[in-house]
Amino acid sequence: MTIQPTRVPIASSVRTPIRVVDSDVHPVPRAGELAPYIPEPYRSKYLAEPRGESIMYDAPDYLYAKAMRVDTFPEDGNFAGSDPNLMLRQAIVEGGSDICVLEPGFATHPVPEMSQAVCVGMNGWLANHWLDPVNNWHERWRGSICVAIEDPPGAVRQIEEWADHPFMAQVLIRAEPRPAWGAPQYDPIWEAATRHDIAVACHLSRGRDDTMPMPPVGFPSYNHDFMVTYSLLAANQIMSLIFDGVFDRFPALRIILVEHAFSWILPLMWRMDAIYKARKSSMDIKRKPSEYVKEHIKFTTQPLDYPDDKNELTRLFEMMEADKVLLFSSDYPHWTYDDPRWLVKHLPEHMREAIMFKNGIETYKLPPTVPALDGKTMVF
């Protein structure tokens, strides 16, 4: 019997400048692919758990589309986002992104060690099935070190294990666990991230019971209402980071809030600056809150919210200095996908390079170029 070796395409020796960095792309394990990477005893426990549907209502035609672009489901019957080759074609060659930052989904389990075990599994899986030479021959995938923030020693162990991986670009946490990020118990995580000079990103999630993202007035009646409350969660975590002095303790810490929307940060900066001005004498923080935001925090462009007259957006971008705080994101393969060619039109011209790629290159420590791909869409 002859064994056919896997054919890996050879990357072009011609390199092309990075013009689009996509900060929010979701890979999904194929059926059975993740389990071997989850350590025991959690593997048996995790897999033995009954799994229910936590989305009560969402995208149109949800039972068919599963809140995904329907053309992103591979033909082998696995879920959207499970085939690296299909994603390469749709998100990069046709869509036009040059770098995709991959953010696997993981939910906060009520048992911290269980959450961490799933993160351990995700990291091993991502490294072997996406960031390996066979699947990342084109050098365009970047990974996230998934960590359960509610288990700080375990989170630090994951950062230590993966921070030096050539294609791991950020640490990925969740915002649901309590207390807020300003609590000193998380300091070892911020310390490890800053020591390795790696940014910490947070993406929307939903755990269960007490680890669902809880709005201040309790749970809303509908899922669409629930989706809007994610911005409140992000706003609370930003206030905690600033007023509890995390950025004073870790001046090199960089935070990325993915998919939490961003237009609300402008009035929040005004509010925090006003409180700071009035109550400065009783505060320990050293600078205006808006300065911490602009130096330490990035937001992603999807979902893009806008007034009826989209031209008014330009004023918002100018007022919030969007070129300092935004990173482009598409949310592929979700049904909320933003095509970079559509998104870039909304940005003031002098901010386009910063938001589409320069901030991304700086945030994720990317090289300026990647191997060229035949027929790839040029976004702008």
């Binding site: 995208a59 149109p60 035609d61 068919y64 589309a65 672009r69 329907v70 053309d71 046709e94 049904w335 909320t336 996908y337 933003d338 095509d339 060619r341 559509w342 027929g375």
Partner: protein
Amino acid sequence: MSAGNPDGPRLPQGREHVVATTDEIKPGEVKIVPIGRHGVGVYNVNGTFYAIANYCPHEGGPLCLGRPRGRNIVDADTPGDAVMVRDLEFIYCPWHQWGFELATGTTAVKPEWSIRTYPVRVIGNEVLVTA
């Protein structure tokens, strides 16, 4: 798909083309013909043929890769209080699920917008599209 490939052979724009035979496109199916920048999707809706541009005005998605189906209306007498009517007469974009009526190109999502529709004639067993 050839229509999605900008480097593939294109048909000249602005004239009538024989694009298929009538038995080539079954009810509920589409054939994407390489006319224009994005291609033209030719549909068989329960025996009547329609043609639309393979381009969604919302964010530019490949409209004709979406699913043709009906639209849902409220019906308090059915489980779930909704029922699908006029099956296959609407196309739903694969990206964000905007729906358009194939016969008219109109959408309920944003009524002031519509998609490009093209005249179709059937002569004998041939389907002709002017696009």
